[in-house]
């Protein structure tokens, strides 16, 4: 067993040498996660805005379900998607199991409730401030959702970031539906799990470093944007 520092140094060498395997894994991770977060935002932002800005029968139940789904265990989601996509499942004919698309589906299911529930909170707070003015202007339903989402855009970036954090760090669901197949469905988290169990700590740690760096960079970018928005009183 090599020393910790030895492994760390080899891991950095892998990162800095732009190792092709590493690049492929990071690229697939980002592709899957960003696509899932993108789809989750397309569904979750308007859904959260509608629940946050309108009063309708069953609104409390919808909010409760969204909040409950925020804590969905990834392995359970993975299992459900597996059952749907497996050869004997209702969507088996699509042949999506063990493909990046299956991973995107699983992550979208995990992230959408997070985006929707957090959006609901942000939009609800903003609408409390805008309600009288909107009622006075006679703002229609579509305009209301659009305006609230636009005016809350900087807070919603943090919401998307929370979704990104959940998706990029998730391992259980993508492992089950992706199968961790080399060069096909191997992403950062599944590789870290596999390589650690194989004892290939250099690659595992190198991916860990990339994952951490990505998290810091994305968070930093969002914080910087928010800070500039706060200065202009847009946030």
């Amino acid at each position: 067993m090599e020393s910790f520092w030895g492994i760390l140094s080899e891991a950095f060498t892998l990162v800095l040498s732009w190792d092709p395997d590493l690049v492929e894994i990071v690229g697939l991770s980002l592709r899957v996660t960003l696509t899932a977060v993108g789809i989750a935002c397309l569904i979750g932002l308007p859904l959260g805005a509608i629940v946050g800005a309108f009063r309708f029968p069953g609104r409390g139940a919808v909010a409760l379900i969204l909040n409950a789904l925020m804590g969905l265990p990834p392995v359970v989601v993975g299992l459900m998607v597996y059952l749907m996509l497996s050869a004997s499942g209702p969507l088996g004919v699509l042949g999506l199991l063990y493909t990046p698309t299956a991973m995107i589906i699983a992550q979208t299911i995990l992230v959408t409730p997070i985006v929707a529930a957090l959006t609901k909170q942000v939009v609800e707070d903003l609408y409390t401030e805008y309600a009288d003015q909107f009622a006075s202007l006679g703002v229609g339903m579509a305009d209301r959702v659009g305006a609230l989402l636009w005016d809350a855009r900087y807070s919603l970036m943090t919401v998307a970031l929370a979704g990104f954090g959940r998706a990029v760090a998730e391992v259980g669901a993508v492992m089950i539906v992706g199968g961790n197949i080399n060069h096909v469905t191997r992403v950062m988290t599944t590789t870290i799990a596999l390589e650690t169990s194989k004892g290939n700590l250099q690659l595992a740690l190198a991916l860990g470093v990339v994952l951490l760096t990505l998290a810091v960079l994305v968070n930093g970018a969002v914080m910087a944007l928010r800070a500039s928005a706060v200065r202009s009183a847009y946030a």
Binding site: Y130, D132, G138, A147, A152, A233
Partner: protein
């Protein structure tokens, strides 16, 4: 029914017996209750086109509530609001605008705030650009057009809120204490804006706590006390020689507490 126009003879436009114009807006027996407490009680009021009416009264008298109900933001517990003789509907509400005591500024630029209001009203293209420019000019905010609206000073924000409301070309503008806690310079700028709007034919109903402002701007006055109309009439008369005890106390700066078991004020007058 308090018909403000019928009391105008000395100061306001003479409304003759032949004048068949119906009031622009009218309230009939307007009541509002919240958690068993009656906050507005049997308010009958008729306001005619083109006038500037000041709504006076102590805190909690029901002034904001009355405006909100006339604007359709709140539904009365009893009674009704009529717009040109018809129930207040969506079209009627679109002919009105309201500016709140704390102006609501969207998290956008000054120009985008105007643009949003116009877009909501279906004003697009060149017409929208023209009205945007006009509103910026009116509010003297040309130099600040691209600044975020929420970093403007209190007075500038209120000017923008009024200009935004006027850009929608309302027939009736409600103003809820538009100059509360503003310095004299900002107050004057807003009063100029209000005068300009009125001279352009907009009917204005404005809440104010400032007797001087009521004298400067008001043509008609409504004095509310305890959720009821205590007095109405030409502003100069209500302000200089009020008949209702509550209005007299307000004018003299005295604290007024209704004597126990007193008759409802509107019956005294």
């Amino acid at each position: 029914m308090r018909d403000l126009a019928s009391e105008f003879t000395p100061l306001g436009p003479a409304i003759t017996a032949n004048d068949v114009r119906q009031p622009l807006i009218e309230t009939r027996g307007l009541c509002f209750e919240d958690r068993g407490q009656r906050l507005l009680d049997g308010v009958d009021l008729k306001l005619r086109e083109g006038r500037l009416t000041v709504v006076l009264g102590a805190n909690g008298a029901g002034k904001s509530l009355l405006l909100r109900m006339m604007h359709g933001l709140l539904s009365p517990t009893a009674g009704e609001v009529l717009w040109q003789g018809r129930p207040l509907d969506r079209a009627a509400r679109r002919a009105q605008a309201m500016v709140f005591q704390r102006p609501v500024m969207l998290r956008r630029s000054v120009r985008a705030n105007l643009r949003f209001a116009l877009s909501v009203r279906g004003v697009m293209g060149r017409e929208r650009a023209r009205r945007e420019a006009e509103a910026l000019e009116l509010a003297r905010l040309n130099d600040l057009a691209d600044r975020p609206a929420r970093v403007l000073s209190g007075g500038e924000q209120q000017r923008l809120a009024i200009a935004r409301a006027l850009a929608c070309a309302p027939e009736l503008l409600f103003l809820d204490e538009p100059t509360a806690s503003l310095d004299p310079g900002s107050t004057q700028a807003i009063e100029d804006l209000i005068r300009t709007a009125q001279s352009a034919g907009v009917t204005i109903v404005m809440i104010t706590h400032d007797a001087g402002q009521a004298r400067r701007l008001g043509q008609d006055a409504v004095f509310l006390h305890g959720g009821r109309i205590a007095e109405t009439g030409p502003a100069a008369r209500v302000l200089e020689a009020p008949r209702a005890p509550a209005a007299q106390a307000w004018r003299e700066g005295r604290l007024y507490l209704e004597p126990p078991g007193a008759e409802p004020l509107r019956k005294i007058i």
